[in-house]
């Protein structure tokens, strides 16, 4: 099998998982463990994910576990990436192992490739930006990659719910616009005694608006500009001044709704080791990131809440008048450190106190 990048790079490797080809945007994560969570993260929908850590699959894949019909050890029901690039894998050993990585990929019909020098790919993406690429069976399939064009909104349609899902049963309810939500977000909300009404952006939310005390705009794959063309209710909903929390894509959509500027980053942040600074609490925390776009200019009425310590990217905003908080990073982590967990406390507190 071959890994091909649109700049012409071609590397031969060994096929694992499903016996098929895959085409998509090639991105990398520098997370060193938590591959189960990464692979099931809907934000990666349609992407070919390169793991920079050389051994993946070490502890196998566990059985799915649910609490309140939310997965507690996966970020969604299925593998979301279209292809996997790794350096090394084995059978996996752990008391709770159900599958090996390769078995799981087969089961989920996702191809993977084992290549010698994943670092080479990372350096190319670092220097040239995100590229299209493919896991190909023969070199001549290169054209498939070159001609590949993906529609962003289709990705979201694939990962957002087909019907309304209710998690938990509680006095305080929040409406979650699911663009491909990570189960970790739902988990954190439920843990704080919030009932989660999870709907897709296409569904009618009007009937819930009087029931709920808060709104969450979830993470999700792809270009926020395109998504915002299909979903333009944010500004309207903000008039309720209901506690609102935007995470990742949700943060970007809020930015666009209020005329902020969102730009594609050269190669994005995809890691679980990034320092951000909480301007309000004057505190630095380590956070999980998975974004290829970022807000470049704060929208009107919003204050800076978090910024990335290394490259000063806006990582969170706050609008006290409208009761909106946002984070570009993932406070639910999964995989990643739990430092930002307190943001869910802040949100839950806002929800409980509202009205």
């Amino acid at each position: 099998m071959y890994l091909y990048l649109e700049d012409g790079t071609i590397i031969e490797g060994i096929s694992i998982g499903a016996d098929k080809e895959a085409i998509g945007e090639v991105v990398f994560t520098t997370a060193m463990n938590g591959y189960v969570e990464s692979l099931t993260d809907p934000s990666y929908k349609g992407q070919i994910l390169v793991f920079t850590h050389p051994h993946i699959g070490n502890y196998g894949i566990p059985k799915k576990e649910y609490i309140n019909n939310v997965l507690s050890n996966f970020e969604s029901e299925h593998i979301q990436v279209s292809g996997v690039v790794i350096n090394n894998t084995n059978n996996g050993f752990k008391y709770n192992k159900l599958y090996s990585l390769s078995e799981w990929l087969k089961e989920e019909n996702i191809p993977g490739i084992v290549i010698d020098d994943t670092r080479l790919i990372v350096k190319k993406i670092r220097d040239n930006g995100v590229m299209k690429g493919g896991l190909l069976k023969k070199e001549s399939s290169k054209e498939l990659v070159d001609n590949f064009n993906y529609s962003n909104i289709e990705l979201i349609n694939e990962v957002s719910p087909k019907e309304i899902i209710i998690h938990g049963n509680n006095r305080y309810k929040v409406l979650l616009f699911d663009f491909g939500v990570k189960h970790g977000i739902i988990r954190e909300l439920i843990r704080r005694n919030l009932e989660v009404i999870r709907i897709s952006y296409k569904m009618n939310f009007e009937k819930y608006i009087n029931e709920v005390n808060g709104i969450v705009y979830s993470n999700g794959p792809g270009d926020p500009e395109i998504v915002s063309k299909y979903f333009d209710k944010i500004k309207e909903l903000s008039e309720y001044k209901m506690p609102t929390f935007g995470i990742c894509l949700g943060h970007q959509l809020i930015g666009i709704a209020f005329n902020g500027i969102v730009k594609k980053m050269k190669f994005g942040h995809r890691a679980i080791n990034k320092g951000v600074f909480d301007v309000i609490n004057e505190k630095a925390i380590i956070t999980t990131h998975n974004h290829g776009y970022a807000i470049e200019k704060l929208p009107e009425g919003f204050k800076l809440w978090f910024y990335s310590i290394d490259d000063k990217v806006i990582e969170g905003m706050i609008n006290n008048d409208l009761n909106i908080i946002t984070t570009q990073f993932h406070p639910e982590a999964g995989p990643g450190p739990l430092d930002a967990n307190y943001i869910f406390d802040i949100f839950a507190n806002m929800v409980e106190k509202w009205r």
Partner: protein
Amino acid sequence: MEIKKVLVLGSGPIKIAEAAEFDYSANQALKALREEGIESIILSSNVATIQTDRSIADNVYLLPLDYRFAERVIEKEMPNGIMIGFGGQTALNVGIDLYDKGILEKFNVEVLGTSIEGIRNALSRFKFKELMKKYNIPIPPSAVAKDEKEAIEKAKEVGLPVIIRVSFNLGGRGSFIARTYDDIEKNVKRAFAQSKTKEILIEKYLEHWKELEYEIVRDKDGNAASIACLENLDPMGTHTGDSVVVTPAQTLDNQEYQEMRQAAIKVAEAINLVGECNVQFALDPNSKQFYVIETNPRMSRSSALASKATGYPLAYISAKLALGKRLYEIINDVSKKTYAFFEPSLDYIVMKFPIWNFEKFGVKGYLSSEMKSIGEVMSIGRSIKEAFEKGQKMIRAYIPKENSIKALKENRPYWYHYAINAYKKGYSLKEIANIIGVDEFFLSEIVKKEKKNNFAIKQIDTLAGEWPASVNYLYTTKYGLEDDISFEKKRKLLILGAGGFRIGTSVEFDYSTVLLAKAAKKYFDEVSIINHNPETVSTDWNEVDKLYLEVIDLETIEKLNKKESFDYIATFTSGQIGNDLAIKLENKGMKLLGTRGINIERAENRETFSKALESLNIKQPPFVTARNKEEIDKFINEYGFPLIIRPSHILSGLGMFIINNREELKRYLKKAAFFSRGYPVVISKYIENADEAEIDGIGDGNNSIGVTIKHIEEAGVHSGDSTMYTPIEKEISDKMKEIALKIVNEFEIKGPYNLQFIIKDKEPYVIELNLRTSRSFPFSSKSINTNLMEYAMKGIFSKFEFDGFFEPEHKLYLVKSPQFSWLQIKNAYPYLSPEMKSTGESGAFGKEMHEALLKSWLGVQPNRLPKNKILIYGKNNLLKEVYEILKNKFYILSLDELYINGDSLSKKEVLSEINNGNVDLIITDGYLKNIDYRIRRRAIDLNIPIVLNARLGLELSKAINKYGDSIFNI
């Protein structure tokens, strides 16, 4: 208060569990201080380290780590800050003493970094336990005991098996696993003896649980990050210093990893850490249950390893944090663009392997909760197998042949060797894992076959390639398809490091390596080091233009040379590794820096060396290079016993013995076969009761600069185990220098050399020439306050400004005393011989020899001045003189079987006096194992100072008699 001047405490001599990691740590702290424009002072007795070189700190005090000496330094220097977290447990203990005795308050010295209260909370097993409960952090079932009786009671509460842990100790000293109450009774006295606070913890033994360590940094505002998670392959119960370690952690899922990370940060918060700590965890391999075991609120062996593994310089950052900086204000040292507030991501695997030296002590080693390894190596690969294979090449260890399963069951060192053998014999990975408690994942990787043939050079960048690195911290991999760096044509030098420490190869070589790298910068455009010891300063990527963290062997160097085209390769600071490689590299067409390989070979080979001496009319003891029994017999008929026997090509006296009769000879020849590597044995006449002397010199092909040294112990005690002093009597040193000059010319010595002599009736006989830096090289350099390495570069590339032999003037006497680690080498019999056994050294200056000697001796653990009773016994008549000197001030005991003078006690009475803590010092001599094994061993286990040589006993008693307590006031 603005900090203007800071005293940094070092860790003293190298001993098991306190090695070069503290040279590196304090070195980093001193660098951080200098950067901040703060005046720095270092106090340490380790004469061999880089930190005690005058170029690193603004002022150096080569004195024992004792609060009394520290007080003198504070009084004189008046610093307003002190750093006690960079010198291991030794420095922490001195810091706590200074605080408790009110000395810091008296002189208005602020403790920088974690407060004394925080340190106490971390190190007192009792306080730590209470604190963890308060913070809701899970700890294993345990209880604290203050005496032997309570220990049994508490063990009953906790339930067997238990592990006994000691408060304020070092390297797990005194700790043990008890499966029966009898085990406790037998070992608990020794445990209490190792605790500064006479406090032990009885903890449930979590057999075969995983052991993990997180390295946490935290600033004064409470911002914290986890820099590395080190996973021990060995389970709980084997000291982490004796464990094979991998980083990043490989077998933890996200939940386990993050929950422990969060708990580790909470521990740091609980002790109000400012700087760095490591937090140790036990994790059940069959559930998500974990416990916090302990924390070390200071730089440690694991923090040095974590720094080298990740490229995140923990000690340097920690020093900055202690000075009040915040994590997000400090620049990432490797990227130079990002900040220190992040958690490194690794796109490679790092493994650490310990090195043990039990074969030097004639005992079998068993791993336990007490650290026993002498050194370690670190390997980097793009797979576990690759890192593992490199590690195997690096350790260069002697692994005894054993029945694999038996060895695994007994927890013998180098378990992986036996595990692989067992696997080859048909045992399943699961069966092996069940015996040793190593995760099957690792076993499955190390038995894998890996066929890769690439050779690519990769950079360590702390961020898995996400940002470009600005320093050349490099490793090579078979998994690489491209190099991370490009190679320019310029004048290049590659310096070989000395690798992992073992007895005979220690920080002394690192000192030379680093000083050479500095001195060479003037002569080369690019200086690179290749080395793999994670503890050392030489593996600090900022010391050189390029650091290759790699195997030091012919294959690797050849491949590197193909890409780099080095102009010169320096082998002379690399100990035995360099000596072995020199001629091979030269034969492959590489150019050696300094003396030619062919001349190194001539000096190393006893036969050619002796012929050269003969032709120069230089005296040497009678000798023969024997290839068979007949040649040996012929020699014995002519010269008789005793004789010294050894294989050629040696370091640290490996396989070297004094043979007194035919019986011993027979035994030796049987045993020595495995040491010999195809060379014949060399037999020379052992000249009894002679002095031993040395020259550490630098040649320019014709002339030499150098230092003449003498040993206090007679010839026959290995030079590494001897007490050395300089300057020496002019009459003898002049003769030695004359000989040295002849040899410099004969062997065209350019650069460092070490020449060893026996002095009998004031006549020097040459016994050995080493064309490399010696163990005493830093001692010699410091004795004349001269950077001899700069002379080495000059000698290699031009000529000295003087003719003949030049020994710069000594302003003071300098004495070096050996540090032994007998305590950890369980069951070993403490004695001195031609085979080196010490692990480190202490040094001190004095206006006269005895002053320097006493200070130097006090710099060695557990030495202290006697107060009341001294035990003197043995066969050597000098001991009678020792008695005469000490009898007026001390109460002298002697053993009836080896009576010298004073109270005659039976062996039983002697042991009881020792057990009751009544003996302050023991002075004896020679090898008396059949009589006094239990006496020496018991003294060692209870931290009682013991002098093993009568000549040393004599000089020391003179010093004690002359100075006594007044030594602390000089």
